[in-house]
């Protein structure tokens, strides 16, 4: 809630409610919002993290590993933000580097080899924009994931749990089913960067957030996601257990649904879904 800051103005101070889209952005980035590992610890039994891209390094901004979702063996690949300063730095604020995306691809292909479903959790401000990331081919790593995820012959369920930051999130987002948590956002550009471009003023991020149509309802309406996972009242941070249980219901439903398809049918299903995205022609 903000108050009109003009003291000279004749009008009395007017309380202005933030735009609903901007509220979602704030909730998606809330300091106490559950991160990927908060869901993994509640939903995946016996989770074992696996590390490294076998070529350069391990990227802590992406957590990957295997475990059991209600007795079902699954591979989980998730973007991970930090909670305190030390963790934030360790996780690079949830901004993956090329080695993170390459680790993700390595383990997704491992899951494909053994016929196991893949669950991905998207939560990043974006892929890391740095000199080293560019040198090691950030663009190539993301591009390759997009193409290779599209041919995984196993069920892939992608869930945007917080910030779906552009290509950095989409690089794990080519699922048969793509879900968003109720207060998650998914956008081609951050509201701040968008505002900087349009209004030459990143403080106008609230306006930009509204213009970008980045809420779960917006994406569902545009035909870009398959469903919305409800959060407890006030947002997932108010009751992480309830948020995880809500996600559990949706994951079970979707994994059951996809279990009916064989490998080639899953590839075709995923292709058909993305192929019709953006049929907005005059």
């Amino acid at each position: 809630m903000r108050v009109n800051p003009e003291p000279e103005s004749d009008a009395c101070a007017v309380a202005v409610e933030p735009h609903p889209a901007w509220l979602r952005v704030l909730l998606a980035r809330h300091a106490k919002r559950p991160h990927s590992l908060d869901y993994i610890s509640r939903l995946i039994a016996g989770f074992e993290e696996v590390h490294g891209d076998r070529s350069f390094a391990d990227d802590p901004a992406i957590v990957a590993g295997f475990g059991f979702f209600e007795d079902r063996p699954v591979m989980v690949v998730a973007e991970q933000k930090g909670r305190n300063t030390k963790q934030k730095l360790y996780r690079n604020f949830g901004m993956p580097k090329p080695e993170g995306y390459r680790k993700a691809l390595r383990v997704m292909q491992m899951a494909a080899k053994f016929g196991r479903p893949v669950i991905t959790l998207l939560d990043t401000p974006g892929a890391y924009p740095g000199i080293d990331a560019e040198e090691r081919g950030q663009a190539e790593a993301i591009a390759r994931n997009l193409r290779e995820m599209s041919r995984l012959p196993v069920p892939v369920v992608a869930v945007c749990i917080g910030e779906g930051g552009s290509g950095g999130a989409l690089a794990l987002g080519v699922g048969n089913i793509v879900l968003m948590l109720e207060n998650a956002v998914y956008s081609v550009i951050s509201p701040e960067s968008c505002a900087a471009i349009i209004y030459r003023d990143s403080a106008k991020a609230e306006q930009a957030a509204a213009a970008l149509r980045l809420t779960a309802e917006d994406l569902l309406g545009l035909g870009l996601i398959d469903g919305i996972v409800p959060e407890p009242p006030g947002g997932a941070h108010e009751d992480p257990d309830a948020a995880a249980e809500s996600l559990r219901e949706h994951l079970r439903l979707r994994l059951d649904e996809l279990a009916a398809y064989d490998g080639p049918a899953l590839v075709d299903h995923r292709y058909a879904k993305f192929r019709k995205m953006g049929n907005f022609f005059a």
């Binding site: 892929a127 349009i198 953006g278």
Partner: protein
């Protein structure tokens, strides 16, 4: 589908009709080369496909000129020329996106930031998409995504190779997540082309950044670039703001990417056609 034909071969030293617009808009008949800082007679530059005859610096050329340069006789058939964006977000910034599109269409003479075409390259039928950087920074929205996806499907149907010439700042902000998903849509279509074992040559020209680099531009069987082209994921200014230091000389230029193993080759513009021709002969006999 409509056929366009040039009256003269591209190397003939006569004023071209399409140059008229450029000449009227600019100050005079001379242009300063960004490479050698020399004043060059504009017609010399244009007759050389905007490669400086003195120092070889490459300045940008438009999407249609690119097609004339690469295709035999400058002849090509265009597809999906009347595909227009319906402005899925009802996006408004300083002006409605709808109005902006109409204005840019009028100024550039193209329907969106890409021309999708079919033509012959040294006698071989190919599908080719050429991006127009003057159209909202060559940005990729639903129309660009759809035109490329259809070109890929045409390549599969007709069993022809695919060439995409990129010149783009990335996904189009005004179409939000719809633009973003085009990255996945095109990459998935390229997966199918790959499975069909049909060749795809990606040509990266100045500039190729953002979601275009992070999808189809980096997925060629060969990824080749013009000398000096800016190529990257994040734009240089974004990186500078993030790391708060100056970027090294030559960072994100085509030569830098070759050095770091991200491109197959840097190919000068005037050698581009023979290079692609040779590659296609290797791939497809």
């Amino acid at each position: 589908m409509s056929w366009f034909k040039r009256d003269r071969p591209p190397d003939e030293k006569l004023p071209r009709i399409e140059d008229k617009e450029r000449r009227v808009r600019t100050e005079g008949l001379w242009q300063k080369c960004e490479g050698c800082r020399q004043i060059i007679w504009k017609k010399d530059l244009e007759d050389n496909w905007n490669v400086c005859p003195r120092c070889g610096a490459h300045s940008r050329i438009d999407a249609a000129a690119r097609l004339r340069m690469l295709l035999d006789g400058g002849v090509y058939a265009e597809f999906d020329a009347s595909l227009y964006s319906s402005d899925p977000l009802d996006f408004v910034d300083k002006q409605p996106y709808r109005d902006k599109l109409a204005a840019v269409r009028k100024a550039t003479g193209v329907s969106d930031a890409i021309i999708s075409a079919e033509g012959k390259l040294d006698g071989r039928l190919i599908q080719i998409c050429s991006m127009e950087n003057k159209f909202i920074g060559g940005s990729m929205g639903a129309v660009v995504g759809e035109k490329i996806a259809r070109a890929i499907e045409r390549a599969m149907e007709k069993r022809t190779p695919l060439v995409i010439v990129s010149a783009s700042g990335g996904a189009r902000m005004q179409e939000g997540a719809v633009s973003l998903m085009q990255m996945a849509k095109i990459s998935a279509a390229l997966m199918r082309l790959d499975e069909a074992r049909l060749p795809y040559v990606s040509v990266l020209t100045d500039p190729t950044t953002g979601g275009v680099t992070a999808s189809y531009a980096m997925l060629g069987d060969l990824n080749i670039a013009e000398p000096g082209a800016l190529i990257g994921f994040a734009g240089p200014r974004v990186i500078e703001q993030t790391i708060r230091q100056k970027l090294p000389e030559g960072f994100q230029r085509a030569e830098f990417l070759v050095k770091h193993g991200m491109l197959d080759a840097v190919v000068p513009r005037l050698e581009m056609k023979p290079y692609i021709s040779k590659a296609l002969r290797f791939f497809a006999g």
